[in-house]
């Protein structure tokens, strides 16, 4: 555990009306982690991601990324600093092709989006092809993203997030809607990204076999509060976690 802290969240709070979606959450990640946040529907997982990426502003608390306080930063600045996210419900550019979807993220990462006079098709060719191959989308490059099957949409979602060359990536249910085979492939890819290029990854997931098979550290959220945290074994043994969540599964 000698790796440095990449993300540090202190006493984060967010309420929507009377509902406390995030209640005094403190959280920390070190470089190179592959961790998961679990919790029943409505536990506040997506809200937590939304707060960390600037989509919602927290009511109180602080978020530090690479030692910088990013608490009130807008999403585009946070992304530039190195956090990317893939959404639960695929959030693509439906009228652009798969290739153009990925290229857009890469062009943004390369700071070429203010270029007005070089045709985009000449830029970022190699990087885009590579990323499409890694994510298993090289057969679908010319398909309109809106017409892709669900599993491919989720893969494209991941490819766009990776196009930003992030240091930390949030994956909100990366395998939702995928077949067993696809789920396995996707999670193997996630694992490889973590091990080979040292990408720090935090994901949420409903499928417990995925969570316990891949995450090395788990955090259990319930009604906006962290109720358990630790290795998969520790969480499995934790009574609170069993009661609110794992109990339903067993």
């Amino acid at each position: 555990m000698a790796e440095e802290v990449i993300l540090k969240v202190e006493k984060l709070n967010k309420a929507f009306g009377g509902l406390k979606a995030t209640n005094n959450v403190s959280y920390q990640m070190r470089t190179g982690e592959l961790s998961a946040i679990i919790g029943p529907n409505g536990a506040g997982k997506s809200t937590f991601f939304n707060l960390l990426t600037g989509y919602h502003l927290p009511d109180s608390g602080n978020i530090f990324f690479k030692g910088v306080n990013i608490t009130h930063w807008p999403p585009h600045k946070i992304t530039r600093l190195g956090i990317a996210r893939a959404f639960q419900v695929s959030n693509l550019y439906p009228r652009l092709t798969t290739y153009e979807n990925v290229r857009q993220a890469i062009l943004s990462q390369q700071k070429k989006t203010l270029n007005l006079f070089t045709p985009a098709h000449r830029l970022a060719k190699k990087e885009t092809q590579e990323l499409l191959e890694i994510t298993g989308l090289s057969q679908q490059t010319n398909m309109t993203a809106g017409n892709l099957p669900q599993g491919d949409k989720k893969r494209l979602e991941l490819a766009i997030a990776l196009g930003n060359k992030p240091d930390l990536v949030f994956l909100d249910e990366p395998t939702a809607g995928m077949s067993g085979e696809e789920t396995h492939e996707t999670m193997e890819l996630v694992k490889r990204l973590n091990e080979e290029i040292g990408l720090t990854i935090l994901f949420t997931e409903h499928d417990m076999s995925v969570v316990f098979g891949y995450a090395r550290r788990l955090t259990v959220l319930h009604q906006g509060t962290v109720i358990a945290e630790g290795t998969p074994e520790e969480v499995r043994a934790n009574e609170d976690a069993q009661r609110v969540y794992l109990g339903e599964e067993a």
Binding site: T53, Y93, P94, Q104
Partner: protein, 315 residues
């Protein structure tokens, strides 16, 4: 390749056009070019950025007034007036756009329209400076461009140059960022793009080219009036784009050909022009929602690709 050949043919036709048609139709052709340029600039906001500007005539009108006033009051050569018109319209678009890009959808449309009306009333009421609704008369093109044929070639040259620049922008990373914002502005924020800033830049560029189109209008028509900036004139590029198709670069230009030609033709024998264009718009919206270009492209797709047919496209 085929596409370039087709464009080349159209262009060759445009070059020899004055040999075959009379002076009246040359006038119509100039109008097609100017309004087509105006409509293509409008479509940078509508088709590429996905927002409806209902005050685009403001920048067209400002461009027309910058050139008109400089030529009438200070005898500035036309060649210098054109870039100044672009700058003038661009500054207006920068100030107005700064507020408008904070909104999207219907609110964006209403605010652009409100600001457009503001420009209209300023020009209308500021008699001592703009001569109000008397308009400006005697905007005379330089002797070289005095004949209608010469002005036609001049307009063709300027419009072509402007279209090439806009084409490059639409194919550039910036152009694709606009498509990205149109398709999914939220996602675009999460790939690190300051959406408002990009929308504002696009708004200004579109305003500048509208200003250029307006600048060409004055010396052609020899006079200008505040009506050029009024909201019903903002409707013209909307109609053209809807007819021609917003999802292709040349759609609005095709729309301009149809709209302007039809107007010249119909007003020749009846005053009920708005009725005719109304029927055309209803027909297009109901039966060819992608406009002429969209219709052509969807037909072509059926023949040549195996890509599954797209679900309803959402504008």
């Amino acid at each position: 390749m085929k596409r370039y050949l087709f464009l080349g043919l159209i262009y060759a036709l445009a070059l020899v056009l004055p040999l075959f048609i009379g002076e009246f139709w040359i006038h119509v052709a100039v109008e097609i070019l100017i309004l087509g340029l105006f409509a293509v600039s409008f479509n940078m906001i509508f088709g590429y950025m996905g927002q409806l500007s209902f005050g685009h005539a403001a920048y067209y009108g400002v461009g027309a007034y910058v050139t008109g006033m400089l030529m009438v009051k200070a005898s500035v050569p036309l060649a210098i007036c054109l870039p100044l018109s672009m700058i003038g319209a661009g500054i207006c678009a920068l100030i107005i756009g700064y507020f408008c890009v904070r909104l999207t959808g219907i609110y964006f449309a209403i605010l652009t329209m409100a600001f457009g009306q503001l420009i209209y009333y300023i020009i209308f009421k500021w008699y001592s400076f703009t001569r109000g609704d008397d308009g400006l008369q005697g905007i005379i093109a330089p002797p070289l461009l005095f004949s209608v044929n010469a002005y036609y070639y001049f307009t063709l040259f300027i419009a072509t140059a402007a279209l090439i620049v806009m084409w490059y922008i639409s194919e550039s990373p910036f152009g694709y960022t606009m498509r990205a914002i149109r398709d999914n502005a939220d996602r675009t924020r999460f790939i690190g793009i300051n959406v408002r800033k990009y929308m504002l830049i696009n708004f200004v560029i579109a305003g500048m080219f509208a200003g250029l189109a307006g600048a060409l209008w004055g010396p052609f028509n020899r006079s200008i009036a505040p009506d050029l900036t009024n909201w019903h004139h903002s409707g013209t590029p909307v109609f053209m784009t809807v007819i021609g198709g917003p999802f292709g670069f040349f759609g609005p230009m095709i729309g301009s050909v149809i709209y302007t030609f039809l107007m010249a033709f119909v007003t020749g024998f009846t005053e009920y022009w708005p009725l005719i264009i109304g029927l055309v718009i209803i027909f297009v919206v109901l039966f060819v929602p992608g406009g002429v270009l969209g219709f052509y492209e969807s037909k072509m797709k059926v023949f040549r690709s195996k890509v599954p047919k797209s679900e309803e496209t959402i504008p």
